[in-house]
């Protein structure tokens, strides 16, 4: 007859999520420290602001320039062109301009500050499991050749590559961004203008940003041209009128064509459910063989647009604002019982703890 030697854990003694994220018993060995959030130890090259709420790439690229150009052009528009046009045309002009301006800025910030769909790196246990499955030779003296795994997606053979940095087989359409050092789902491209990668989660913000920016630049360009035309008619001549607003005109003229072109290109990508990455590499252009078509396309423009732009917003997989477990190196097999950090959502900590209690009690009563 075996006697059990365990102490019933009192659920009331377990930490409640609202008060403290740290388990009390284990802390007697450590000094009490401010609990750290996961973004502070994030392995990728990203910058976090507002305690993990906002994230960008480490090198912001030309994001300040983008914001500056938009602000400068719009300010000049509101100061110099609007008064004239309100007097001579209609009051709607500053209203429309204002709405477009706000829309552009909001979508720009959403694109830049949102997690693009970063995949968290594999845990050591997962990585070991994957290694065990592929590496049977046991030869560790040199780096083995790139590992690939083939899967069948909609009757097409797709090769999944192994990411040595993140230690996992990349899901389809995922690519590792070398600038951010992260694997990003449905990786489109790394955009220096917004200072972030464009991927699954922020592609719709990016698309809305460039479309609304094309409207804004076209609108400002149209208003400036109308202003100049009306002024030139006023008698002083076109050249004199041009001298009054050269900056706006120059910026708008050059931006309109490039932004309109970019919007057109991305509209084509959305309609065919392609990413910039795939388009540049020519993954589905059929040059490698016959019958290679895009397996992700629904063959219908409207459905493709909906699935890219109107699908349910996927969640962020990197838990930026979750708290780190007090013992970061606790990845060992033999673990003392402590309330497990099962879920980053606070309300689940109590659930996880009570679940562990069930497990203890059940295991000890198995015989």
């Amino acid at each position: 007859m075996n006697s059990r030697d365990y102490q019933q854990i009192d659920p009331q003694a377990l930490p409640t999520p609202a008060h403290s994220p740290l388990p009390h018993p284990a802390d007697r060995r450590q000094e009490p420290r401010t609990p750290r959030r996961k973004w502070e130890v994030f392995p990728g090259k990203n910058r976090f602001f507002c305690d993990g709420r906002i994230m960008m790439a480490r090198g912001c690229g030309v994001f300040p320039l983008t914001v500056g150009l938009i602000l400068v052009t719009s300010t000049l528009f509101f100061i110099f062109d609007c008064p004239f046009l309100v007097k001579h045309l209609t009051r709607c002009i500053p209203a429309i301009g204002g709405v477009l301006f706000v829309f552009v800025l909001i979508t720009l910030f959403q694109t830049s500050f949102t997690d693009p769909g970063i995949l968290p790196r594999a845990t050591p246990d997962e990585a070991a499991d994957v290694e065990r499955q592929i590496d049977d030779t046991g030869n560790t003296s040199y780096r083995p050749p790139p590992r690939t795994k083939e899967v069948l997606i909609n009757q097409q053979v797709i090769k999944l590559k192994y990411c040595f940095t993140c230690k996992m087989f990349r899901p389809p359409r995922t690519s590792h961004c070398s600038l951010c050092d992260n694997c990003v789902e449905r990786f489109d491209h790394h955009c220096p203008w917004v200072g972030n990668c464009v991927g699954k989660r922020n592609y719709r913000f990016f698309y809305t940003f460039i479309v609304s920016l094309s409207f804004l630049t076209a609108f400002i360009f149209g208003c400036v041209t109308t202003h100049l035309a009306l002024r030139a008619q006023g008698g002083k001549g076109l050249v004199f009128a041009l001298q009054e607003s050269p900056v706006e005109l120059a910026i708008c003229f050059f931006s309109v064509w490039s932004i309109l072109g970019l919007s057109g290109f991305h509209t084509y990508l959305v309609a065919s459910n392609l990413t910039t990455n795939e388009d540049i590499k020519g993954s589905w252009s059929g040059k490698s063989g016959d019958g290679v078509t895009n397996p992700y396309s629904q063959k219908n423009i409207f459905i493709n647009c909906c699935s890219v732009l109107c699908a349910p917003m996927p969640p962020s997989l990197i838990d930026r604002r979750g708290f780190l477990p007090p013992n970061e190196s606790a990845q060992t097999s033999d673990a003392d019982i402590e309330p497990p950090r099962l879920n980053h959502k606070n309300e689940m900590n109590v659930v996880g703890a009570s679940l562990h209690l069930v497990l203890i009690v059940t295991l000890t009563n198995l015989k």
């Binding site: 102490q7 909001i106 899901p171 699908a311």
Partner: protein, 134 residues
């Protein structure tokens, strides 16, 4: 004095990409679990999870309307409202907890919510039963 419960092994259920990039997990029964749990029970759990994830990502008329409305507000609604996906994730978390309590914990197993692992794998921890005898 504490009870030591050792982790004997971990089994990872990988993603199933045959239908594209949708979140689905393989229903193949891992050999390590043969002595621990009924194959049908396991497959039923995975199938229910797959159905829940399909529901989360489904392109329905409701999600289309939500998407259009969100676009009109420059997506600021995402900052205030809980998205459809997040609502289903809560349902999934509840289902996993329920399965753990009723089915897996009595057999010395523990399912980890895939969201904890970036929706890459379902991690099943196999616990050893270590009893202390006097």
């Amino acid at each position: 004095m504490r009870q030591q419960v050792a982790v004997a092994a971990k089994v990872f259920i990988q993603r199933d990409y045959t239908n594209g990039t949708m979140c689905q997990f393989q229903t193949k029964f891992p050999s390590d679990l043969e002595t621990k749990i009924d194959k049908q029970q396991f497959e039923e759990t995975i199938r229910t999870l797959n159905n829940l994830y399909a529901e989360a990502e489904k392109l329905s008329s409701q999600s289309f309307i939500e998407g259009c409305l969100a676009c009109l507000t420059a997506y600021t609604v995402f900052l205030c409202m809980e998205t459809h996906y997040e609502k289903v994730l809560k349902k999934i978390a509840k289902y996993i907890q329920e399965q753990n309590e009723k089915v897996y914990a009595p057999r010395g197993l523990l399912l980890t919510d895939p969201i904890e692992r970036g929706l890459r794998v379902i991690e099943i921890t196999i616990y050893e039963d270590r009893s202390f005898s006097r």
